[in-house]
């Protein structure tokens, strides 16, 4: 009898979760953004850090980002089951048990924060811990389901890695580190709203109060333009501080000019115009926003690396 029960327990799940399923729980695409921005924060910060410690610190920041992704997937499994885009994620697809995702998220949170503290310093570790808490609890568990500003709030959680990278290198978080945070914070809403305007996201099925649903698409177009203005202000100001320089300022002005032009296009269009040309402007802003962030952060690294860089 007992043997039969054990046999059933061993064979009842023909599709055991593989490593790939656990890897997907960590949201690798979000992790790659965190890695990129954390590397930039670490490289542009003043001060020296041993290359091995720098690389290892980035690894723990990435693991922390992955941990918050797993916690998010655990809590959002009910939403993920409803939406087409997320239905194939490991928990709604039934490949990973919710409890396993929670355990993985909590375990990796503790490991990443502790190891970052031991590898770099406890200021960086504390900010990593706060970021995981902010994304998993403040954003995922609370504000994502209650306010239409969830995109901006979620963006803030994704904005911290460059500051953590900076703190890992220096032990502090000066104005320049916060400007890198502000840059990603201001960038996220127009980036995401441009996508929401041309992809039919079924957030309303999942009862998530996205701006396109709660305030309408016209208001989303207006907000995209307003946030693009705010982004340009933060971006140009950042280029005039210690992380910038003449080259960065020139590049940043060009990047923002195109961004503002595309956001203005979106603002003055209607959904009928958008449907007529296959969402040309919305798709263009979405693509440009990806290029924008990559080049913007890269030019700060170039300024830091050039012997004649900086102000």
């Amino acid at each position: 009898m007992a043997d039969a029960a054990i046999h059933i327990a061993l064979t009842a799940r023909p599709d055991d979760p593989g490593l790939r399923d656990y890897w997907r729980l960590l949201k690798p695409r979000l992790m790659s953004l965190s890695i990129f921005t954390a590397v930039v924060g670490l490289l542009v910060a003043p001060g020296e850090m041993h290359p091995f410690l720098a690389a290892t610190s980035i690894l723990w920041i990435a693991v922390g980002a992955g941990a918050s992704g797993a916690l998010n997937m655990w809590f959002d499994a009910d939403i993920d089951r409803v939406m087409k885009r997320t239905r194939s994620r490991p928990i709604p697809a039934g490949r990973v048990a919710p409890g396993d995702a929670l355990a993985l998220g909590l375990f990796l949170s503790v490991v990443s924060v502790t190891m970052l503290g031991l590898t770099a310093n406890w200021v960086a570790a504390a900010w990593l811990g706060f970021t995981i808490f902010f994304y998993a609890v403040i954003y995922s568990m609370w504000l994502k389901r209650t306010t239409s500003w969830n995109t901006a709030i979620g963006g803030l959680a994704g904005a911290f890695p460059p500051m953590i990278g900076w703190a890992a290198a220096t032990g502090g978080t000066p104005l320049e580190a916060w400007l890198l945070v502000a840059l990603i914070f201001m960038w996220t809403p127009p980036h995401f709203w441009a996508l929401a305007l041309f992809v039919k996201l079924d957030y309303h099925n999942a009862r998530i109060p996205m701006l396109t649903v709660t305030h309408g698409r016209t208001e989303t177009r207006r907000q995209t333009w307003l946030w693009a203005l705010g982004l340009a202000a933060v971006s140009i100001f950042a280029a005039t501080t210690a992380v910038g320089g003449p080259l960065a300022l020139a590049v940043v002005i060009g990047l923002n000019a195109v961004f503002l032009h595309l956001a203005w296009d979106i603002h003055r269009r209607t959904d009928i115009d958008s449907e007529a040309d296959g969402h040309r402007a919305e798709k263009a802003l979405f693509k440009w926003s990806l290029f924008y962030l990559f080049v913007h952060f890269s030019v700060f690294v170039v300024e830091a690396a050039l012997p004649f860089g900086g102000w």
Binding site: T11, D16, G18, L19, H50, T56
Partner: protein, 62 residues
Amino acid sequence: MRVEHELHYRRRGRNFGVLFVLLAFIAIVFGVTMVKVETGGLSEGFDHVLRPALIPTDEVSE
């Protein structure tokens, strides 16, 4: 002859993955330790100095 259970085949990839992660973790901790020791980052002030609080009072008075 010992027949291996089908479960072991099924989970082989995952188990090797966990092994790799654990070995990588050990290598990283070892590497960080070596770097910290070489650069002196591991030394806390109180690790390598005599702390007066630990010296018996009669020794101090002598």
